[in-house]
């Protein structure tokens, strides 16, 4: 992806996250919901999350996900 959105993310990032948030949740299992988010993030943004990041505490909420993405996309 070339270019950056105003908040520092590649084009389409917020659009994709917004659309993803609109999908129904996987169920009442927070760990499974975290896995669902991780499948999406790894595919769309080409990142690989660590085992410790596949965790509901890391993958809950838009800000947390954006923070995680920012760290991966910046190569940290």
């Amino acid at each position: 992806m070339s270019g950056r959105e105003d908040d520092g993310f590649p084009p389409g990032t917020l659009q994709a996250l917004g659309a993803f948030e609109a999908l129904p949740a996987a169920g009442e299992d927070p760990e499974l919901e975290a896995v669902k988010i991780a499948v999406f993030l790894e595919d769309v943004f080409g990142v690989t999350l660590s085992e410790s990041e596949l965790d509901p505490r890391t993958l809950t909420g838009r800000d947390a996900v954006l923070g995680l993405l920012r760290r991966h996309l910046d190569g940290h």
Binding site: Q15, A16, A19, F20, L23, L32, V35, F40, D43, E51
Partner: protein, 664 residues
């Protein structure tokens, strides 16, 4: 839609009676009339289902000077635009048919005419002066085209049974073709299950002259390098998809001189095509649906609600297990190849309903699942890809639970099933990461094969579809590789053939497929994978594009793959009456494909509960045995799939050969 056939000979003058027999064997493809051209090199046959220019489009058709002749099966949907373009280049037209447009397009552009066609076709062009035959097939293999090499040239036809009208054509199974079928669910072009019978691969053109046969691709399915897709904006691709699909459906509905109906399956794809037709054309719409007496397979409620919403005149056929058993031998006579599912049989009954209702053409949703990533195999790929990044991760393994709702409902069973099925061969570098579980599962039925066939296969050349993947596929999104595999194997070999063209044409009905419009296919291939498969949400961009036309209950319902009762259709209530004969030890030994003792064991096990509650592998095994034995009975042991009958009347003959064998 029609049927074509021909005999090219650089030796003796082609036998007129042979081509007449060939035409008679494919009469179901063209009951409205027939014709042939014969000169000293070729006998070119045609049976016609008159759809465009019903008065003037008889075939074979020649150009003005009689040097170029065509026998054509299919439709060129952009023939009106091409005709105007060709008129501008000085060409003059005698008819209003798309067939004549092909003749002029060939005169103007030669082989470069084929990429200009938006259509579905199998055709033969004969250049009398150059003594050159050209065969061409549409991009994705909607229309079939087979040929066999003869001592003096080739014979070709829309269906294999026409080639078997010539008793000199060898009749035996091709072990590698069977092996492909028992792996990929179908052969991969150019192979068929018959030795010496080839099919022209989709998107290819063959030139045949005194120097032999040269085959080349004029089009190939391709995907961009991941990250370098031409458009990343989801809103833009959504808008483009809607525009192209609307135009594709309009073309396929309006470019016909006879009424066009539409299938409604209850799912998203046919709902989109029917809705577009209803929304963007003024014509009344007649819809047709397939229902099942088995509630497990029935989608009648969704079909009826969609029909009511669109205000269509709606008809349906309700299929029972015994209906499937009853028609299955005829189904296999038309598929001309073994099938691992009974699903073509209900489609055969549905096309009969269409024909009985007076319709010759239907628009359907075929191709959407391949083009826009609707199949579960693509979702499974995403899960396997995710898991393969760390196969030992328990958290990653849980992704398999996202695939199917029952896994979430049965958490106790899910992990074990997931690990044994979706967790096998988790090699992230494997180009066929998507398809390994299916292929491994299918190959389990090879345990039934006879010792002789297994020995033959052990020494046979490897015919690996993965090895045939384009070099550039290394850089594609994994979804693109999975789509390529699906569009190279199952789409042309089964969906469009055994479940498509053959079941439709058995009752002289033409299918038209907006999702396979080249503009739609190329747009979809060029999208980022996540526009199609959004997380694990299949056909996401399609759902977005038509959210205002399709009811939420259809967009949001879990995808229900089209299935029909398999073994249970044949083994309940004492079993199909034809089954004992084709599965007898004598019949099995004569075919030489399966080990009789193992088949007896399988059928005994399957019969215990009338075929019910049988696992997926055993269901496939039963279907493989029954369909393969029927193929043997019809084509290798019988009359080659069809008895001789005269070509459909009226017969138009252009015979340039005198009784003494000289050319007039």
């Amino acid at each position: 839609m029609c049927g074509i056939c021909g005999v090219l000979s650089f030796g003796p003058v082609p036998d007129r009676d042979l081509v007449l027999r060939m035409m008679g064997r494919i009469a179901h493809r063209g009951p409205d009339g027939s014709g042939y051209l014969r000169d000293r090199r070729i006998a070119l046959g045609h049976v016609r289902l008159a759809i465009v220019d019903t008065a003037g489009g008889a075939q074979p058709m020649g150009n003005e000077d009689g040097n170029l002749w065509i026998s054509f099966n299919g439709e060129i949907f952009n023939y009106v635009e091409l005709r105007e373009q060709l008129r501008g280049l000085g060409h003059r037209f005698r008819t209003a048919s798309d067939t004549e447009v092909i003749l002029h397009a060939w005169e103007e552009w030669g082989e470069d005419c084929f990429p200009r066609f938006n259509g579905q076709w199998a055709l033969a062009l004969w250049d009398r002066r150059a003594e050159r035959l050209v065969l061409s097939r549409d991009r994705l293999g909607v229309r079939p085209l087979y040929f066999t090499r003869t001592p003096h040239g080739v014979s070709f036809a829309s269906e294999i049974k026409a080639l078997f009208a010539d008793p000199a054509v060898p009749r035996q199974f091709d072990p590698v073709g069977l092996d492909q079928t028992f792996t990929y669910w179908s052969t991969v072009a150019p192979r068929t299950v018959f030795a010496g019978i080839e099919q022209l691969p989709p998107g290819h053109v063959a030139t045949i002259d005194r120097h032999g046969i040269r085959t080349s691709a004029y089009w190939e399915i391709a995907f961009p390098e991941r990250g370098h897709e031409p458009e990343h904006d989801l809103t833009a691709t959504t808008r483009q998809l809607r525009e192209r699909l609307v135009e594709a459906a309009r073309l396929r509905f309006l470019r016909s001189d006879v009424p066009v109906g539409a299938y409604l399956s209850g799912g998203l794809d046919s709902a989109v095509t029917a809705s577009v037709v209803a929304q963007y054309t003024q014509a009344p719409l007649h819809t047709f649906s397939l229902r099942f007496a088995d509630q497990e397979f029935d989608e009648g409620g969704y079909q009826q609600r969609m029909s009511a919403r669109l205000g269509t005149r709606h008809e349906e056929v309700v299929v029972r297990r015994r209906d499937i058993a009853e028609v299955f031998p005829q189904v296999i006579r038309h598929t001309e190849t073994p099938v691992l599912r009974s699903a073509p049989a209900p489609m055969y009954l549905l096309s009969k309903l269409v024909a009985d209702s007076g319709y010759k053409v239907v628009v359907t949703g075929e191709g959407a699942d391949e083009v826009l990533a609707g199949y579960d195999i693509f979702r499974e790929l995403r899960v396997r890809q995710f898991w393969a990044r760390d196969p030992g991760s328990v958290r990653r393994s849980r992704a398999a639970e996202l695939l199917y709702p029952w896994m979430v409902r049965s958490p106790g069973r899910a992990p074990a099933f997931a690990r044994s099925f979706f967790g096998r061969n988790l090699d992230p570098q494997d180009p066929a990461l998507s398809h390994r579980p299916r292929w491994d599962s299918t190959m389990a039925l090879k345990a039934l094969l006879s010792a002789d066939l297994q020995a033959e296969l052990a020494g046979a050349p490897v015919d690996d579809v993965v090895a045939a993947m384009p070099k550039s596929s290394d850089d594609w999104d994994a979804l693109g590789r999975a789509q390529w595999l699906e569009m190279t194997t199952l789409l042309p070999g089964y969906i469009l053939s055994s479940q498509g063209d053959r079941m439709l044409m058995a009752h002289s009905v033409e299918g038209r497929f907006p999702f396979l419009d080249p503009g739609v296919v190329e747009l979809a291939a060029g999208m980022p994978g996540w526009h199609k498969l959004f997380g694990l949400e299949e056909k996401y961009v399609l759902k977005q594009a038509f959210a205002d036309l399709i009811p939420a209950e259809i967009i949001e319902r879990p995808k229900q793959p089209y299935r029909a009762p398999d073994a249970a259709s044949f083994l309940a209530d004492g079993g199909a009456d034809w089954l004992p004969e084709i599965t007898s030890p004598q019949a099995l030994r004569a075919a030489g494909v399966f080990e009789p003792d193992r088949v007896a064991g399988l059928l005994a096990k399957a019969s215990r509960r009338g075929g019910a509650d049988l696992g997926n592998t055993d269901n496939m095994r039963v279907m493989a045995v029954l369909s393969t034995q029927l193929v043997h009975a019809f084509f290798l042991d019988g009359d080659g799939g069809a008895g001789d009958q005269p070509p459909p009347a009226p017969l138009t003959a252009v015979d340039l050969i005198d009784d003494d064998g000289s050319e007039s």
